[in-house]
């Protein structure tokens, strides 16, 4: 048996290096508000929204409006990453092939074009990817690639910053209401991403004190003893950052920590893995999700965290639940108290499934998942509205939330949307 533990240096890609800004095509002046009507509205311009917009462009659907609360493509995704000082993505190069079937520039070729900007470690990762091995992708490369993808598919000029308040099917149209705008669309694609998971009721007695924060909030730089709650990649980054600052860390994992290369078992990035979700009973899918969509840490962290644990900078509290979280630390279920100056909760995320935008009866939520058509990813009870990203996990499996899952979801959604737009055009003629 061959044991492979990737080196921690893979985590140290430079961020915000001077990356060339390529001449982007100018686009005509436009109104501050999105147009009142469009063939398609995409809500959310993160990696999933960008993938859907690019695919639609290739299928000839050009009357598309994107609305995103954070503005530029993938802005929120990148902000979160920077908040954690995360330098690489664990979605490997081969998961970013550009729009399927159109020979768009792949992420790996995009990185190779910028060879002189890459470190030796980053170049070696490209070679590993070319040889069919697992690789990690520098965030700088991904960010520049998103910019290029947005420019060539006219996403930049079709994207408006705005908060969507509701999505309301109305006959053969769908009304998208936002802060100061309303768009009547033929079809809507929800690419809503995920929200942070809040602490369970009962952990906090009353309002959250300032000594308790979540993973997407700044950590006070003077926290000398930090308590990190959570067992995933986010928790690992928080610990890594605290150790780098010279803080001592108490890590409450609740279960045992798990190290693995990718977010979910690699089989779920392939058709045979997705087939385990295809047409099987709901309870079977739920059980699979519970087993497979579990927090895990990239292997690269393992030597760092083990070394810190061995020399006493890190204490890991495994296998015990949490009774309470206070400004002084965490009370464990076994009665022990874990003290610290600051507690950071990294409890994972909750997929946004359309609740709060679409009426509840159209979302058809069951066990926290929307009721989607498996072939098209349209809401069964609102067939002009589609969901991509983590919301599609019960159809595509746990990898639906990953870049590769966006590719699969996009292929199904874009084909359906484009066919509908063509049918409407023919009917109009």
């Amino acid at each position: 048996m061959t044991t492979f533990v990737p080196h921690p240096r893979l985590l140290r890609s430079p961020r915000h290096r001077a990356w060339p800004r390529y001449p982007e095509p100018a686009f005509p002046a436009r109104d501050a508000m999105p147009p009142a009507s469009a063939d398609v509205v995409i809500v959310g311009a993160g990696p999933a929204g960008l993938a859907v917009a690019a695919a639609l462009w290739h299928l000839g659907v050009h009357d598309v409006v994107l609305v995103d609360r954070d503005g530029p493509p993938a802005a929120r995704f990148l902000d979160r990453i920077d908040q954690l000082d995360q330098r690489v993505l664990r979605s490997p190069y081969e998961h970013h092939p550009g729009v399927e079937g159109y020979r768009d520039c792949e992420l790996r070729d995009f990185a190779r074009m910028h060879w002189s900007l890459l470190t030796e470690v980053e170049r070696r990762e490209i070679r590993m990817s070319q040889a069919g091995h697992r690789s990690v992708v520098p965030v700088d490369v991904f960010e520049a690639y998103c910019r290029h993808t947005a420019a060539i598919h006219r996403v930049t000029e079709r994207l408006w910053s705005g908060e969507v308040r509701s999505v309301e099917p109305d006959g053969d149209r769908v009304l998208v209401h936002g802060n100061g705008f309303q768009i009547s669309a033929s079809q809507v694609v929800l690419c809503l991403g995920e929200e942070r998971r809040d602490a369970p009721a009962g952990w906090l007695a009353g309002p959250r004190p300032k000594e308790i924060g979540y993973w997407d909030e700044p950590v006070p730089p003077n926290a000398g003893r930090e308590v990190v709650v959570g067992a995933g990649l986010t928790a690992a980054h928080l610990i890594h950052n605290a150790l780098d600052r010279g803080a001592r860390v108490e890590w409450v994992t609740r279960g045992d920590e798990r190290y693995q290369c990718s977010d979910v078992n690699a089989s779920f990035f392939r058709a045979e893995g997705r087939a385990r979700f295809d047409g099987v009973l709901w309870d079977t899918r739920l059980a699979l999700m519970a087993r497979e969509r579990r927090a895990s840490v990239m292997f690269e962290f393992q030597p760092l965290l083990r070394e810190a644990e061995a020399d006493g900078r890190l204490t890991v509290h495994r296998g015990t639940g949490i009774r309470a979280v206070t400004g002084n630390g965490v009370g464990l279920a076994d009665g022990r108290q874990v003290g610290g100056d600051h507690v950071v909760l990294a409890l994972g995320t909750v997929p946004s499934i359309g609740t709060g935008l679409l009426p509840d009866e159209l979302v058809g939520a069951r066990d926290g998942w929307p009721d989607l058509d498996e072939r098209t990813l349209a809401y069964r009870r609102a067939p002009q509205v589609f969901a991509a990203g983590a919301a599609a996990c019960m159809v595509l499996g746990p990898a639906a939330r990953n870049i590769d899952g966006h590719r699969v979801a996009t292929a199904r959604i874009a084909a359906t949307v484009a066919a509908h737009v063509r049918d409407e055009a023919v009917a109009h003629v």
Partner: protein, 158 residues
């Protein structure tokens, strides 16, 4: 029983010139894209190979109001015809082709650079033009056919 073969392998170098990395990448692109890249590069002496390549990507997607993919190919074809005269004047030929792509690239790029002073048709204004001219030369027959036929098949629906 022990493995009868040596199963160790090495990955390609990571220390080669960045232009070699781009060059090897370009060797896998279609001839129209190479001619368009040559056209873009010959119009802009300051362009580096990455800029030229990404501009070609923009042209393929029809998002630039100032230039089309077809016109870039036409400019590239014109530049290619001039270069072909240069190859004849310099008595340059590819000769034996190495199966090692990086060595093949370095040899071809080096040959063009070595003749650039003496043969004006092979003189390039910037790195992008030199890289794209090399890539075209390595695909001589295809490039010449496309340049002579003036056929540009739209690669993308738009």
């Amino acid at each position: 029983m022990s493995e009868p073969y040596d199963t160790t392998f090495s990955l390609p170098s990571i220390d080669d010139d960045p232009d070699t990395e781009v060059g090897v990448l370009l060797m896998g692109l279609g001839p129209e894209r190479l001619l368009a890249g040559l056209g873009v590069a010959s119009r802009d002496p300051t362009a580096d190979p990455a800029t030229a390549t990404l501009l070609v990507d923009q042209l393929r997607h029809g998002v630039r109001p100032d230039l089309t993919f077809e016109s870039a190919v036409a400019v590239g074809a014109e530049r290619w015809r001039v270069a072909c005269d240069g190859f004849v004047a310099a008595n340059l030929s590819l000769g034996l082709r190495s199966a090692a792509l990086r060595r093949l690239w370095e040899s071809a790029a080096g040959a063009i650079a070595a003749h650039a002073d003496a043969v004006p048709q092979l003189r390039t204004a910037g790195a992008a033009e030199w890289v794209y001219l090399t890539a075209c030369w390595l695909r001589l027959a295809e490039i010449t056919r496309i340049a002579e036929e003036h056929v540009v098949l739209p690669e993308l629906p738009s």
